[in-house]
Symmetry: C2
Subunit: 155 residues, 2 copies
């Protein structure tokens, strides 16, 4: 099986690191596409690999498939993304990461300030405070208190 310009499912799976089932899922979600043989089997253009790399990267940064679809739609259709495309997108990601970092640092600092006191009082403790009911009148001007932004890993 010599290298050609079209790839089968298993080739793409192997080379992208995604399971074949994930590829079908992404196709159904409109994230990638494929041509078909006369018999109905998928054949992928090599460009799908770059697209998949983009998807994995975005997902590593913490974007949902919905958000990824949106960003993919903002990419040039057909042509390879230019450096400025990538600049725009990655700036976007960078912001997202910075937000996460900030939230995480705030949480850690709050934890540090709790370590000495052994508090965990419902009223006072920033770590255990529900969703900052205290200061939450309505979208406060300052900053969100606790990170609804962070969560546990996907199993």
């Amino acid at each position: 099986m010599e290298p050609t310009d079209v790839l089968t499912v298993s080739e793409v799976a192997e080379r992208s690191g995604f399971a074949a089932s994930a590829l079908r899922y992404y196709e159904k979600q409109g994230l990638i596409d494929a041509t078909r043989t006369s018999g109905g089997q998928r054949r992928y253009a090599r460009s799908v690999l770059r697209r998949l790399a983009f998807i994995r990267a975005a997902s590593n940064v913490g974007l949902s498939l919905d958000e990824i679809r949106t960003e993919l739609a903002g990419l040039p259709k057909g042509r390879t993304p230019t450096k400025s495309d990538w600049h725009r997108i990655s700036g976007h990601w960078r912001t997202r990461l910075d937000e996460q970092l900030e939230a995480l640092e705030a949480l850690r600092d709050k934890l540090d300030s709790c370590i000495g006191c052994g508090c965990l009082s419902l009223k006072q403790c920033g770590i255990s405070n529900p969703a900052d009911k205290a200061a939450a009148s309505d979208d406060a001007p300052g900053a969100a208190y606790l990170p609804a932004l962070l969560r546990r890993p996907p199993h």
Copy 2:
């Protein structure tokens, strides 16, 4: 209804910020418990509030309910946790947060190094590299490459 030493579901819900359904769920999961009236209704000891504060704090730090159950089991049964209990636990959490921070910073730096090049090549790009197949022989000594550690918020 004067303040008593036992609390009803709705009181605990109100004072803890958890929905009543969440309380029942936590009970089923063995995270909290309650006595019952002769008619079968739940009555909570006030100590459940502290326990719930702990649960929310742990969950804010990113622990799964499974992990939280484990940590709760490590807490003194009956007596109020001492400062040294809290010290131990919070140190644990601190580690967790630091790991997340580290992973996130690594990712951001990787992103920064990608911004200039517009790469996203499957082979070279750290951001899009599956789960670091490159260096993954088997649990490497150095450090995990990409954060399976971070994920998107629970909607």
